[in-house]
């Protein structure tokens, strides 16, 4: 087909140069002649085959003849041998009658066999046969009877002696001659056999060559004839076919070149005429179809026809494109259904079947699954056509590729979903506000936050303000007014009072939308910050509670130390009094020793300051001030606290020892709180040793870049198994303890980012450690 089409295509430019080579004969005549020739050739082949077989048979018969010869001459030889042996034995018996009859019968037998031998030898007279063999046979034939005659004569004369001599002397040469004949004939026959065999083999070989060759030659000739006949028919037919295909493709200019006078030439002419007519008709149709096709292509819409009864489906080009099917003359609905997405197939089938049953329109969207896995969305609209009501119901309609549309829809849906979910999770709603004074848009989550019904649509401004907490309502109204007035955004936190009575904190952020200097409106978000707000308030309250607690702790500590503090104060005061006395004296000295008096006065000042200092410290502990963080040298704090506790310690015979490392970094901390921590820990230690006495050591060192402080005692140690419970609030082992000291200390340390813990000492007592993160200065 293809090659024929190519031939035509390549030949068509040359026009009439491409012609049928049909000669003078009609095709019928030509075929008859061809078949007759083939039959003749086959008969010829049969004749050749038969002659070859005949040849082989002849060879075989020669083979057989050769055997006959050999056998015949062997008989003769045996006759002669038997002749001699039988007669020799009889000659011993000297029985003339027996001898005569035996000799005669042996001779007759011999003559018969010789005749047979001569016959078989002469019947197959071969060119290769030793010519003397027949002569020798004849000699044997003519030699034996006279021997018999002679012997019979001798027997008749009773001369057995002569008979025996003759049998011994004159018969053996005959045997020799016979045996030489046997040998020669055997050799001869062997050659003949070999020749016959070779002949047979040669004939067979020829058979093997001749038969296949004959067969091949006949086949080739038959094939050539067949080819010629076929060519003469198929050539023009191929051109007609090519022309028909060209016609089908719409190449109406294509003409079958017509040459000759046979049937095919007539067909060619008729074809050309038909093509011409079709061409005209086709041009008209083509033009209108082109428009339609273009329209379909642009709209991604193809048309179809569906004959319900037969299931045949007719498609426009665009439909084929949508289905991505090679344009094909015949389509069946089942084939079309294969393209339908498997998940939609059943559904589609239901719809169109029911449409066919009820002869109603159908309009459905479904998916197509392309071979590459691509999924297309199409919309199929069909309308029953009742051209001929009776038999065949036919649907006509269009198929539109709506994949792009579907994809856009899906994308939008997805993004909307994301937004919605995101808003829900973040408890955030979005809104748009029209400058005209109403909400254009409220997101769904926004409705949820405000506890409004989404189905009623975005609230009016009045409705909105009504939800707002009365205390914030006015300010919010002010904000909205300002926004409109100043075209500015907003970021306000307000409370709302939902219809269910729930109070919520809402942070509302909005920005103006300005297009070409004209305010188009506002859009923004509203975030439900109720939880954060509540958390913040809770935290503040806790802080205050802690501060109160710490203050109470400090006061109670100072109360506990009141005696010690009094003693502490008393010392500088006493010293100051002493110095004052000295000063007075030195002034009262004659001459007043001013120098000494000045010195004493200086000392008074010093001691006074010292006392004031102590009081300041105590005051600071009493003060209930907000937390103030500043860089502090912790060693200094220890030095400040130390004197306050010295007298308390000595009261219980407790030695105090300081081992403070130099060069500790300053720490951002609240001085009073740290003082409280040290005091708590040191008082705790003193209490632990108040019955026994011991040593209280405060050490500081730098560990892994962090200052580490330790307060250790040699007291009763930590209660077994509950080492960590000691930091719990209201835990105490002391009868007078509030149980708050260690808990507050830990809270303070942790609020500074540090850690507080306790370990039992190896020997006696316990050590409390805490770290404070170094503050980078």
């Amino acid at each position: 087909m293809t090659s024929a089409a190519l031939n035509v295509n390549s030949a068509s430019p040359s026009g009439p140069g491409n012609h049928f080579r049909l000669g003078e004969w009609k095709i019928g005549t030509l075929l008859t002649v061809c078949f007759a020739t083939i039959v003749v050739l086959m008969v010829l082949g049969d004749i050749i085959t038969l002659s070859q077989f005949n040849r082989v048979e002849q060879r075989a018969s020669r083979f057989y003849q050769a055997d006959q010869k050999s056998l015949a001459i062997m008989h003769v030889y045996l006759d002669v041998v038997t002749f001699r042996e039988t007669l020799t034995s009889l000659a011993q018996d000297q029985n003339p009658g027996e001898f005569t009859s035996q000799a005669t019968s042996l001779r007759d037998n011999f003559l018969k066999d010789v005749a047979l031998a001569q016959q078989s030898l002469s019947s197959a007279q071969e060119a290769s046969q030793d010519p003397t063999i027949l002569n020798r046979v004849e000699t044997v034939r003519s030699a034996l009877p006279p021997q018999v005659d002679t012997m019979l004569e001798l027997v008749k004369a009773g001369d057995w002696q002569a008979v025996r001599f003759r049998l011994a002397g004159q018969v053996p040469p005959l045997i020799g001659l016979s045996s030489s004949l046997v040998a020669d004939v055997e050799k001869q026959v062997g050659e003949e056999r070999a020749q016959a065999l070779e002949g047979i083999q040669r004939a067979q070989r020829q058979l093997y060559v001749v038969l296949p060759l004959t067969g091949v030659v006949i086949l080739i000739m038959a094939a050539m004839l067949g080819w010629y006949a076929t060519h003469r028919i198929s050539g023009p037919l191929a051109q007609l076919d090519a022309a028909a295909q060209a016609l089908a493709r719409g190449e109406f200019e294509y003409k079958v070149a017509v040459d000759g006078r046979d049937e095919l030439a007539d067909l060619g002419r008729a074809f050309n005429y038909a093509a011409e007519q079709l061409h005209k008709l086709y041009d008209v149709i083509k033009r209108s179809e082109a428009y339609l096709s273009e329209a379909q292509r642009l709209s991604h819409t193809g048309s179809f026809g569906w004959q319900v009864a037969s299931g045949s489906v007719y498609w426009s080009a665009e439909t084929f494109r949508i289905f991505e099917v090679e344009p094909e003359a015949q389509l069946h609905l089942d084939a079309v259904m294969q393209r339908v997405h498997p998940e939609d197939r059943w559904n589609v089938r239901q719809i169109i079947d029911s449409a066919a049953r009820e002869k109603k329109d159908f309009d459905l969207e479904h998916r197509l699954l392309m071979p590459g896995g691509l999924v297309k969305h199409v919309r199929a609209v069909g309308h029953p056509s009742f051209k001929n009501e009776s038999a065949s119901l036919e649907f006509v309609g269009v198929i539109t590729d709506i994949t792009e549309r579907k994809r856009a829809e899906n994308a939008l849906q997805r993004s909307q979903f994301y937004i919605k979910e995101g808003q829900r999770v973040a408890r955030m709603g979005s809104w748009a506000y029209d400058p005209g004074g109403f909400f254009e848009y409220w997101s769904e989550e926004l409705f949820q936050i405000y506890g409004l019904d989404p189905h009623k649509g975005a609230p009016t401004l009045e409705q909105y303000l009504a939800v707002i907490h009365p205390q914030d309502r006015e300010s919010m109204a002010e904000v909205i007014k300002a926004m409109l007035l100043e075209r500015c955004g907003c970021d306000v936190k307000k409370r709302i009072l939902r219809s269910d009575g729930e109070l919520r904190y809402i942070r509302c952020v909005g920005i103006p939308v300005v297009e070409a200097d004209a305010l188009k409106g506002f859009l923004g978000t509203a975030i439900d910050v109720t939880e954060q707000e509540q958390l913040e308030q809770e935290r503040e309250r806790l802080r205050q509670l802690e501060a109160e607690l710490a203050h109470t702790n400090r006061v109670s500590m100072l109360g506990e130390m009141a005696a010690s503090l009094a003693h502490e104060l008393k010392q500088p005061l006493a010293a100051a009094i002493t110095s004052a006395n000295s000063c007075i004296e030195w002034l009262a000295h004659e001459p007043p020793n001013l120098e000494r008096a000045r010195a004493a006065a200086a000392r008074i000042d010093k001691y006074g300051n010292r006392a004031a200092e102590i009081i300041d410290h105590i005051r600071s502990l009493y003060r209930k001030s907000p937390s103030q963080r500043e860089p502090v040298n912790v060693n200094e704090i220890v030095h400040e606290i130390f004197p306050l506790l010295q007298s308390e310690a000595s009261r219980y015979s407790i030695a105090m020892r300081l081992e403070l490392a130099d060069g500790l970094p300053r720490i951002e901390a609240d001085r009073v709180q740290l003082q409280q921590v040290f005091m708590n820990l040191m008082l705790n230690a003193i209490e632990a040793m108040q019955d026994t006495g011991g040593e209280l050591a405060v050490t500081s060192r730098l560990q892994e870049g962090q200052p580490l402080f330790a307060v250790s005692d040699t007291g009763m140690g930590l209660p077994e198994g509950i080492a960590d419970q000691i930091f719990s609030a209201f835990f105490t082992t002391k009868p007078q303890g509030s149980g708050m000291g260690l808990a507050i200390s830990r809270s303070i340390v942790e609020s500074h980012g540090g850690r507080l813990w306790a370990t039992a000492n190896d020997g006696r007592g316990a050590t409390f450690y805490f770290t404070l993160p170094a503050h980078p200065l």
Binding site: R136, T139, E153, G158, D159
Partner: protein, 493 residues
């Protein structure tokens, strides 16, 4: 001989086959379908006969004689060596009558083989018309070197039908030891002496419990042998030569007397079976030491004699005893002829000339006896020295020879001889009165030959040497005796 033939045929046929196949193949591929089939057919056909060396076929009489056969094989090998021509030897039946029948069948049927025939001295007239004239092939000087009477005998209507190669004669074999034993110093000179000596010795030996011992054995079988023997008896008594000067000479008292005497021997000094004896039978008895005397051919048994049972110093040969008229010894002998139908006349003639050549004859006679056909050779001292019996043979031939009438009667001779030996056999076997039988024979022979009978007693004037007979024109008329020859034994060369 056979193996050389095989080689030549093998050498030629194989390349030829190859060539024909090649031809077939070539044509097969060159031509179309038709020519292919033709070529295939050609290839199947047997190639034409080879054109290489010529192989001649010789048919001879004496194949039963091993000595003779070996000798001749040597000669043929020499011939092949000299000429490159191969020769195959065919055998022949024992008796002359049977042999002649074979020869005639072959020649008259136009057989292309054999090429060369051994021809008995009595046959040229019978076979001549199918034999080639040798004169164009044989130089005249060579022809002339043979005894003229032999050439004459072999010339039929001016055509030299055969070239002679051996002369044979009838002889008396006798046991020197037995003769000495019974007090005889010499062999018998007459038939009567022979009869007496045989009788005595036979009686003496039988007395020594040799019951099968006989005095005299000869060839009495119903065959040409009888003609030869009877001619000797008849001629020695002066009874004529059967046919003499175109007259039938059988019916005369001398002949009757001679035949009657022979008939008397049968059963007395000769075994009763002697009437069935051919040459071989007589010889068998003789060789077994069971006879004191034997009549046989000069060429017959020399081979056997040399290797036979009887030691050489216990026997000797002599001329046949004389009758009242003379010593008579039938001439035998053989010549070689070329078939008119031979495909190779030139090569065949070469073989004939070779077999008859003086040096070949000489070499042959030195080994196995017989007499040369070339007078020249009788002067060769070496030959006489080589064969101790030769002088006797030569003398017998020269002095006593009688010819059977084959030259005169030509083709009629076989019938004539048959009638003659049948008649004689009747006398010998059935003891019929000789005179009666002979008169009947005379009539029969006259009918066969168309000749007249000689006047009774005419036979006596014979005496003339047989050479004289030669002048008589042969064909149907001329009587002349050529001895029948026994088949096997009297092998020529």
């Amino acid at each position: 001989m056979p193996h050389t033939d095989d080689e030549s045929s093998g050498n030629t046929s194989r390349p030829e086959l190859r060539e024909s196949l090649q031809n077939a193949g070539r044509r097969c591929f060159l031509g179309g379908l038709a020519s292919f089939l033709f070529a295939a057919g050609q290839a199947c056909r047997k190639a034409a006969p080879p054109t290489a060396a010529v192989t001649l076929v010789l048919i001879d009489q004496t194949w039963l004689d091993y000595t003779f056969r070996d000798r001749r094989n040597l000669e043929l090998e020499r011939f092949t060596r000299e000429t490159g021509i191969q020769v195959k030897l065919l055998p022949a039946p024992e008796g002359a009558v049977e042999t002649l029948e074979v020869w005639r069948n072959l020649l008259e049927s136009g057989a292309q083989i054999p090429d060369v025939y051994a021809v008995d001295v009595i046959w040229p007239g019978v076979l001549a018309e199918n034999l080639l004239d040798l004169r164009p092939f044989v130089p005249q000087s060579e022809i002339a070197s043979h005894f003229p009477e032999l050439i004459a005998n072999n010339t039929v209507d001016g055509k030299l039908a055969a070239l002679p190669c051996v002369i044979d004669v009838g002889l008396l074999f006798y046991r020197t030891d037995l003769l000495a034993k019974y007090g005889y110093r010499a062999p018998p000179r007459t038939w009567d002496e022979l009869e007496q000596m045989a009788e005595r010795i036979q009686a003496g030996e039988r007395a020594r419990s040799r019951k099968d011992f006989w005095g005299f054995v000869w060839e009495g079988a119903l065959s040409e042998s009888v003609t030869c023997n009877a001619l000797e008896w008849q001629a020695s008594e002066g009874g004529g030569m059967i046919v003499e000067n175109n007259l039938v000479t059988v019916n005369n008292p001398q002949a009757a007397r001679a035949l009657a005497r022979a008939a008397r021997w049968v059963g007395s000094i000769s075994p009763p079976g002697v009437v069935a004896y051919k040459e071989w039978d007589a010889y068998n008895i003789w060789q077994a030491g069971q006879a004191a005397f034997m009549r046989n051919w000069a060429t017959s048994h020399f081979g056997e004699l040399f290797q036979g049972a009887i030691p050489r110093d216990q026997f000797d040969i002599a001329a046949l005893p004389r009758g009242r008229a003379r010593n008579a010894s039938t001439v035998g002998g053989r010549a070689y002829a070329v078939s008119r139908h031979s495909l190779y006349p030139r090569e065949s003639t070469m073989l004939v000339r070779f077999l008859c050549r003086p040096d070949i004859q000489l070499a042959r006679i030195r080994k196995i006896g017989g007499s040369p056909t070339i007078p020249e050779l009788y002067n060769d001292p070496g030959m006489l020295a080589a064969n101790p019996y030769f002088s006797t043979i030569l003398k017998t031939y020269q002095n006593d020879k009688v010819w059977r009438p084959s030259a005169q009667t030509g083709k009629l001779y076989p019938a004539l001889s048959r009638a003659y030996y049948r008649a004689v056999h009747e006398i010998l076997e059935d003891k019929k009165p000789a005179s009666g039988v002979l008169s009947g024979l005379e009539v029969e022979l006259m009918q066969i030959t168309g000749m007249k009978a000689a006047a009774p007693g005419a036979g006596r004037g014979f005496q003339g040497k047989s050479a004289g007979l030669r002048a008589v024109p042969r064909c149907n008329s001329g009587p002349d005796g050529i001895p029948d020859k026994p088949d096997v034994i009297p092998g020529g060369i």
